[in-house]
């Protein structure tokens, strides 16, 4: 009998954030060895080694091991004579996902293959206008099952061939993990002010024009305004993009940079959050803070997926939003609650855990008779 394994494929830096809660869940609930398989591209991308350190910590806490694969053959070699479940956070037939997609293609039949939705707007699950332009409407998976955040009726980009693979689990980020909260979040008397998230590397910031300057100019003007009132602002770069870090953008004195992994940030400690369309908007909404979605003045950037939330563009909008946060936050939060209901996202952490445990434990047992 082959030893049961839960294998996590890690290729993009963001993958860690998505699969981490599942690794903890597997360690707590399932009788299987946990293995992280890192593509050599992941090691290349993680130039500062931040995510490899994170992974070390995860491996230590979940008693799991990690290997690097540099080709389909080396991955095949690792998987041969094992059985269980392979989980990828970014897998599809797009060339950017080839390093996980191909592993799913060649994985021995003794494995069940699962792809997780890795963002609110996500290729193959729920695409925005730029996704459609870049990748078309027929994105497919090599996985046997794909796990999404929302009811299948909301998964408008799921190709017809992939619908039968869909399983509604909700986002992994809501699973409880045994991580220690970071030290900063314990200092509750500190004023954290607002949180602004940038994803300026994103394809949506470049496809239909260059919106980077427009966003940063408004951000700088907002910071100046906050500074006059003695308030600070926290800026959070996208974990994979790191635009302000990579481009050495000089930041005003009252701006703090937060570059911790998302699971080490206590979003609830911020007074409000602002971001261009991005999954972090959903993270902040779920954390229960007032959130505004930035869109360019001409409304070229597609923010339609966030309809129902507060949309802001120029400095006046930012200031008006900040005023609303101070004066009538309950109005904003009620608006966000309605939004969550409308998009049919599963937010009940207990239910999400049940669905994942059911899936993974049944998956492992189903494969009990193979080989």
């Amino acid at each position: 009998m082959l030893v049961k394994h839960i294998v996590f494929l890690i290729n993009l830096l963001q993958d860690i954030n998505i699969v981490r809660p599942l690794a903890y869940l597997a360690a707590r609930e399932l009788d299987a060895s946990i293995l992280f398989m890192l593509s050599d591209k992941f090691i290349e991308r993680d130039k500062q080694g931040i995510w490899q350190l994170e992974l070390k910590e995860i491996c230590r806490e979940t008693n799991s091991t990690s290997y690097i694969y540099d080709s389909e053959y080396s991955a095949f070699d690792l998987l041969l004579n094992k059985r269980g479940i392979i989980i990828a956070a970014s897998e599809s037939n797009l060339s950017a996902h080839a390093h996980t997609h191909n592993i799913f293609r060649i994985a021995p039949a003794s494995f069940l293959k699962i792809t997780l939705q890795h963002g609110y707007e996500c290729v193959g699950f729920f695409q925005n206008r730029e996704h459609y332009k870049a990748h078309g409407r027929n994105v497919t998976f090599a996985a046997d099952l794909v796990c999404g955040w929302r009811d299948v009726s909301a998964m408008q980009s799921l190709a017809a061939s992939e619908r039968s693979k869909y399983y509604w689990t909700g986002p992994t980020s809501l699973l409880s993990t045994s991580y220690p909260t970071n030290t900063a979040s314990n200092q509750t008397d500190q004023d954290y002010g607002g949180l602004v998230c940038e994803n300026l590397h994103s394809v949506r910031m470049n496809v239909n024009g260059d919106f980077k300057a427009s966003f940063m100019d408004t951000f700088f003007a907002f910071c100046e305004h906050q500074d006059k009132q003695g308030k600070s602002v926290t800026l959070r770069p996208h974990p994979g993009g790191q635009y302000v870090v990579k481009n050495n953008i000089e930041l005003p004195e009252n701006v703090r940079l937060n570059n911790l992994p998302m699971y080490k940030v206590n979003l609830a400690q911020y007074k409000f959050g602002i971001s261009a369309p991005s999954s972090v908007v959903i993270d902040m909404v779920l954390a229960g803070i007032p959130v505004a979605v930035w869109q360019d003045d001409d409304e070229v950037i597609d923010a339609s997926s966030y309809e129902g939330l507060t949309i802001i563009s120029g400095l006046n909008d930012w200031l008006a939003f900040e005023r609303d946060v101070a004066v009538r936050p309950e109005m904003l939060l009620a608006r966000q609650a309605r939004f969550l209901q409308r998009i049919k996202i599963l937010t009940d952490a207990q239910e999400i855990q049940t669905r994942f445990v059911t899936l993974l434990s049944n998956g492992l047992n189903m494969l009990g008779n193979v080989n």
Partner: protein, 516 residues
């Protein structure tokens, strides 16, 4: 007689084909008083290095081989080619235009050719109809009948006692142009399925090259209907695997590339004591009843404990091998054939006088840098075209001067000394783009039509212009070269489309193309 096999690269020397085809007859040639050695083409630096009697090109499909063959053909050396892969019969496949053109060019210089099979000989005879040829079969390494009998018997006993059939698949798993190797294994997987439905369990062991183990290759392997082991191929692993396998599965598809293949895989399997199951094209027909053609026959023989290759039938197998795979006989037949050709060649050389001619190589699409170096090393003029690489220090380079919109040709010393009398006073001393002293000739003034045409390509990078005018521009280049170097023998180096097939558009057609 000293025989030299010319190989394309150092890596080539490590391939199974080289070991099987040349090294297995080497010792037997030696025993008969001959010598066989293998040299990489790049090691030849000058004509005096060619000290052997016979030169045999093996898979050297670029201009370097005909540069050498042209020079050797006038020296009393015997020059030939060994053909064992069919890149020549697919007349409608544009991937192999350069192979076909290569064979046509080589046909002018070679004295003989060798083939691995009769079918390959038929294919090549279409290119070289009057050139003597000989079939050199891939020989076995050594044959030990007692060992084969013992191995075969042991494997049968183990199969019956364990209920597990050990199946081997080995060989090159891929090809850049043809669906072979792992694709054959995958396509004929129903035979494995049949074996597995018999009540026996099937354990397939695959030995193949690393390059074949791409996502596509591995995906096919994982979809096989039996359990498998996979490892990278080596000679030792192959021998060990075959000795422990009841049967080698060698399916063959019917495309031209596959049906000319030599019998060496079946020979290796049988001489190591494994039965052979080969479905698809009957490539191993010569071995008659020693080849299982379907899984059911093999299963029936396992059950009645009487496999086709067993102690009692081995004398018949030995007789078959003697006809088509015996290294001693293959070495003998080859030596006789070559000696006869050598004698005839030397007689022919005595009776003909060869005029000295200037030689030149024009570099077309993707001409390899090695061909330029080789041309200069062997005293050919290395001639650029607007389509060749920009880097090499050609002896003759076409240059478009943007200042005065004229086309000129820059000649180095070796080239200007061969220039047609009457042109010297038109030469203008210049420095090449790398600072070498060259002399330039204004072509726009001398050959306005050809220059206009060639200049068009320099003026535009448009891919459509290159594709549509390639043949015409290359013809113009040749015309100019012939005009300024009278009597020059020109050869062409190109390994990528578009190809210069003698096709050229007329002036009216060209004039309507405007990509400027």
């Amino acid at each position: 007689m000293k025989i030299c096999v010319i190989a394309p690269t150092q890596e080539y020397l490590n391939l199974a084909g080289v070991r099987i085809r040349y090294l297995r007859i080497e010792e037997h040639l030696r025993a008969q008083g001959h010598q066989l050695s293998i040299e990489v083409i790049e090691t030849f630096r000058a004509l005096p290095h060619f000290k052997h009697d016979v030169y045999l090109f093996s898979k050297c499909y670029d201009a370097r081989s005909f540069l050498i063959a042209r020079l050797l053909s006038k020296t009393g050396k015997l020059v030939g080619i060994d053909f064992f892969d069919d890149y020549f019969s697919q007349k409608n496949n544009s991937n192999f235009v350069c192979h076909r053109e290569w064979a046509r060019t080589m046909a002018e210089f070679v004295d003989f050719f060798l083939c691995s099979t009769l079918r390959m000989q038929e294919v090549i005879s279409a290119y070289m109809p009057d050139i003597p040829s000989h079939i050199l079969n891939d020989p076995f390494d050594n044959i030990d009948l007692d060992k084969i009998a013992a191995t075969s018997e042991r494997n049968l006993e183990r199969t019956l006692s364990t209920g597990q059939i050990e199946v081997a698949w080995f060989g090159v798993g891929d090809n850049p142009y043809f669906a072979v190797g792992l694709r054959d294994l995958f396509a004929f997987r129903s035979d494995l399925h049949d074996l597995g439905r018999s009540g026996f369990t099937v354990k397939l062991s695959i030995l193949t090259n690393r390059r074949a183990l791409t996502a596509e290759g591995l995906e096919m392997i994982r979809r096989l209907p039996v359990s498998y082991r996979l490892d990278e191929w080596s000679v030792d692993k192959e021998d060990a695997l075959l000795a422990n396998s009841l049967v080698a599965f060698i399916p063959v598809n019917s495309q031209p590339f596959s049906i000319v293949k030599s019998l060496n895989r079946a020979v290796s399997a049988l001489t190591n004591g494994a039965q052979v199951l080969s479905s698809g094209y009957p490539l191993y027909e010569q071995f008659g009843s020693f080849i299982y053609r379907d899984a059911h026959a093999l299963l029936a023989d396992i059950v009645r404990k009487q496999l086709v290759m067993r102690k009692q039938t081995l004398p018949d197998l030995q007789r078959l091998f003697a006809e088509c795979a015996d290294p001693v006989r293959e070495a003998e037949k080859l030596a006789v054939f070559l000696a006869k050709q050598l004698k005839q060649d030397r007689l022919a050389i005595q009776s003909k006088t060869v005029p000295e001619a200037s030689l030149g190589l024009i570099h077309g699409a993707r001409s390899p840098g090695e061909c330029h170096k080789f041309a200069q090393r062997f005293r050919y003029l290395s001639i650029s075209s607007p389509f060749g690489a920009d880097g090499p220090n050609y002896d003759v380079r076409f240059v478009f001067v943007t200042d005065n919109q004229t086309l000129e040709v820059q000649l180095d010393e070796r080239a200007w000394s061969k220039l047609k009398p009457g042109f010297e006073h038109l030469l203008e001393p210049k420095a090449s783009r790398t600072g070498r002293a060259v002399k330039s000739l204004n072509l726009s003034a001398l050959f306005p039509d050809e220059s206009d045409l060639i200049a068009k390509v320099f003026k535009s990078n448009h891919i459509a212009l290159k594709l549509t005018t390639y043949g015409a521009v290359m013809s113009a280049v040749r015309q100019v070269i012939i005009s300024i170097f009278p009597g020059i023998e020109l050869y062409l180096s190109e390994i990528e489309a578009p190809y210069w097939l003698g096709f050229s558009m007329n002036k009216a057609q060209i004039s309507i193309l405007n990509f400027d």
